[in-house]
């Protein structure tokens, strides 16, 4: 009995066809997998960070959560668009390659419905494999990253997996069916014509570059001939580069900007002085930004932790001290004081806010003697004796939010006030502060003392003069402070500030995995295009080789084509990406020379990496014998 089969069963032909086109099938499945995995990972990751949902018990501040959320939602939307275009391109590419086979089988007398069935089965197999693998890799990526970032793994929200699987599957089938249906309506002769299956123009009327080199001429004219595929890949890569630029530029700029927000309130040469218990509590409040810790019950009004005026006097007169920032830190109930505004269109009086309340750390400060500064919407306390308050972004978002279903249509902290005990303060600014994860408010210290009845500060921050021997200065201050009160501790805040900054950086770095995913998808996509390109030109490459062209010539032609496509996409994608980043994603961005170098390095590596990737099909072809290429 013969050990071969000549019949083409409904399942046998598509499976054999896919298996015999290993590179193309692998590329298609891998690209779909990457696209789906990156989308799913993004959703899981943002869900884990509880971005957009805003969690008061989590880390970071709600304002920063908002930035992360906005950033990730935007990238998520772009990744989804890229996924859609990528899916469309990949399935189009796959089906375009089958057009000629479709025509051949039809020409041999096979019924249209049966041929369509073969290729529909191929489409289903590839799409299903890509979607399943994408979901699996999405889970694996989430598992790996969660274990590193969150120190433990909890099952993600499975609805995201279902949503992504269904959306991409439907999308892939929809786009894959388009060329299939188009081909099924063609006569066999049309389907066999290269004009149809490569979208070729009859002949390049545009005789540009005729005086340039031969290699350049062949490369550029081939691109012009394959207008449909070339345009499609340029559009796709442009979107990819927009995404990449937004991710990279936005990520780096946002990282630098938010890091500066976290550093500036306690930046520079600052040390703190407090009672031992208060020292522990203050460190706990600061570290809540990077670690979800309970601050527990603490008596901020305990007279034992009050700092005597004598200590402040001694420190003020010390030559190594630049600024003495006395603070009273208390935990208070904040009550929202609503206000009214005039509708500019109707002149009607509209209520702003409600009478909500919440707990927050309230810090009394002397606005004239501050060691740091904040990133603020509005302004900081004026220091002219007015009853003013600046609230943290988490207070702003947890108390002063609009909630139409609870009849709070308008809410704007900057036109409202807060009441602490029996004293009402006008809110003049909203700041980003890592203390107590942004659940904090700043008021003038004398007003807070009056409101709470506490007469002495319980924390002193001092800024040291620039000195060559910081350790000696700290040691000297320790001896001065302990001579005045032996229970007081001098402690360095740089450790906890550095920890917060590292946490923020690490969170950004984790998000920056997204551009890597995108880059991998784009590289696969470009290789896919180059396979199409090389496949379409293989006969001509064989002719060139037969009349004496060395294999390097083939690689050079492909390299020029890849470079033209990449640079065109780069030229469109990068400026648009930068504009989107600066105009939409970040307000008042902090752009340093290092940010620019960082961004340039990322984008250059992306461009070079993708270019090298794109040469793979040409290298593969160049290694093949001429006869193999011809046949």
């Amino acid at each position: 009995m013969a050990n071969w089969s000549i019949t083409m069963s409904n399942a046998g032909f598509p499976i054999n066809d896919l298996l015999r086109r290993k590179l193309q099938t692998t590329l298609t499945v891998a690209t779909l997998t990457l696209s789906i995995a990156s989308t799913l990972f993004l959703l899981f990751f943002s869900n884990r960070l509880e971005l957009g949902i805003a969690s008061s018990k989590g880390t970071l501040t709600l304002g920063l959560n908002g930035i992360f959320s906005q950033f990730i939602v935007f990238i998520g939307a772009l990744i989804f668009i890229v996924g859609a275009v990528l899916t469309s391109f990949i399935v189009f590419f796959m089906m375009a390659q089958r057009t000629r086979d479709f025509g051949l089988i039809k020409a041999a007398g096979c019924p249209n419905s049966l041929v369509a069935g073969y290729f529909m089965t191929e489409l289903l197999i590839v799409t299903f494999a890509g979607c399943v693998l994408g979901v699996v890799f999405g889970f694996l990526m989430d598992f790996a990253v969660s274990n590193v970032v969150f120190s433990g793994y909890q099952l993600p929200n499975f609805w995201f997996a279902l949503l992504v699987f269904v959306a991409f599957f439907v999308l892939a089938i929809f786009f894959g069916l388009q060329p299939l249906l188009k081909t099924s309506r063609m006569s066999p002769m049309q389907a066999l014509s290269p004009i149809n299956y490569y979208g070729l123009t009859i002949g390049p009327k545009l005789k540009l570059l005729s005086r340039s080199g031969l290699i350049w001429r062949i490369a550029s004219r081939s691109l012009l001939r394959r207008q449909s595929a070339s345009l499609r890949i340029i559009i796709l890569l442009s979107i990819v580069f927009i995404l990449l630029t937004v991710s990279v530029t936005g990520g780096i700029i946002a990282k630098d900007t938010t890091t500066s927000w976290i550093q500036t309130p306690l930046d520079g040469n600052i040390i703190a002085i407090a009672h031992t218990n208060m020292e522990n509590q203050y460190n706990l409040l600061l570290s809540k930004f990077s670690e979800a810790k309970e601050t527990g019950d603490f008596n901020y009004s305990d007279p034992k932790i009050a700092i005597p005026e004598a200590v402040i006097q001694v420190l003020t007169s010390s030559p190594s001290v630049s600024v003495v920032d006395s603070r009273l830190v208390v935990l208070e109930r904040l009550h929202e004081i609503s206000n009214f505004t005039i509708d500019p269109d109707t002149s009607a009086t509209l209520p702003v806010g409600d009478s909500r309340e919440g707990d927050a750390i309230v810090v009394g400060v002397n606005p004239q003697k501050l060691v740091g500064e904040w990133s603020i919407k509005g302004r900081f306390l004026s220091g002219n004796g007015d009853l003013e308050a600046v609230i943290g972004d988490s207070v702003s978002q947890s108390i002063f939010y609009s909630h139409p279903s609870q009849f709070v249509v308008l809410s704007d902290p900057l036109v409202e006030g807060i009441r602490i005990q029996n004293t009402t303060f006008n809110i003049v600014g909203i700041c980003v502060d890592p203390l107590n994860s942004g659940q904090v408010g700043y008021v003038p210290i004398d007003k807070l003392e009056n409101a709470t009845g506490i007469t002495n500060p319980n924390l002193i921050l001092i800024k040291l003069n620039d000195s060559t021997d910081r350790a000696a200065d700290i040691s000297q201050i320790k001896s001065i402070v302990q001579a005045a009160d032996p229970d007081l501790q001098v402690f360095d805040l740089s450790g906890v500030v550095d920890h917060n900054v590292s946490f923020l950086s690490f969170t950004w770095q984790t998000i920056m995995l997204l551009p890597l995913f995108t880059l991998a998808s784009a590289a696969m996509c470009l290789v896919g295009y180059m396979v199409l390109s090389v496949d379409e030109q293989h006969q001509e490459f064989a002719i060139l080789r037969a009349v004496g062209a060395k294999p390097q010539i083939i690689i050079a032609i492909s390299a020029i084509q890849g470079a033209i496509v990449l640079i065109s996409s780069f030229a469109i994608g990068i400026p648009l990406g930068i504009i989107i980043t600066l105009l939409i994603l970040m307000t008042n961005p902090l752009i340093t020379v290092f940010s620019v170098i960082d961004i340039a390095a990322w984008l250059s590596v992306a461009l070079i990496g993708m270019f090298i990737f794109s040469l793979y099909p040409a290298f593969r072809l160049a290694k093949a014998s001429i006869l193999k290429i011809m046949t």
């Binding site: 009859i202 002949g203 390049p204 005789k207 031969l214 001429r217 062949i218 004219r221 081939s222 001939r225 006969q539 001509e540 064989a542 002719i543 060139l544 080789r545 037969a546 009349v547 004496g548 062209a549 060395k550 294999p551 014998s625 001429i626 006869l627």
Partner: protein, 230 residues
Amino acid sequence: MIECNDLMVCTQALEKGYDMGNSKLEVLKDINLHISKGKFIVLCGPSGSGKTTLLNLIGGIDRPSKGKILVAGQDLTMQNEDFLSDFRCNHVGFVFQAYNLVSTLTVAENVAFPMEWTRKPESEIGQRVTELLKTVGLDSRANHFPSQLSGGEQQRVAFARALSNDPELFLADEPTGNLDVKNAQKIIQVLQLLKSEGKTVIVSTHDLEIKQLADQVLCLEDGKLVDNNE
């Protein structure tokens, strides 16, 4: 023992086979060929007898499985791809049955590009292209693309391209196989011209008119040389 040095083509116990999974397909078996310079050789034989494979081996497009092959004084048996590229460019003109023109280049550019590999000056290339296109009767179609030409015209362009570097050896695989009588006649005229110029020509063909030009007819059957009529 025949000395190979003075011959244009010399093969010794030449074999070519292809692995087909578990079996091996022997296309050429024990080919011993000695073709002097300036000879007009016709290869005949039924389809599948190995004519194209033999031409490919002589033209340096393929490598033998066993045996030795010397062409224009160059041993092609174990050469690398770069050497074979240079060899094809400088010593051989090859015309395929299926024309094989580069569709993105014009007629003139198709004829010119083998000369560009050898870095000839632009003026010399221009002059040579004009001369060759006149020879094949297509000087008025220089700026047309292959898709705008008939099959016969494309084959004539292929002839012009094969002659562009003035090769010592001219190989043609069934050059009139796909052509009508009128176009075939024009091809035969070019072959006559080559013969009159004293070029070494090896043509695989069934065309009786071309056979009449031959100094020697070599027939292949099942991969073996079966007849050798001087």
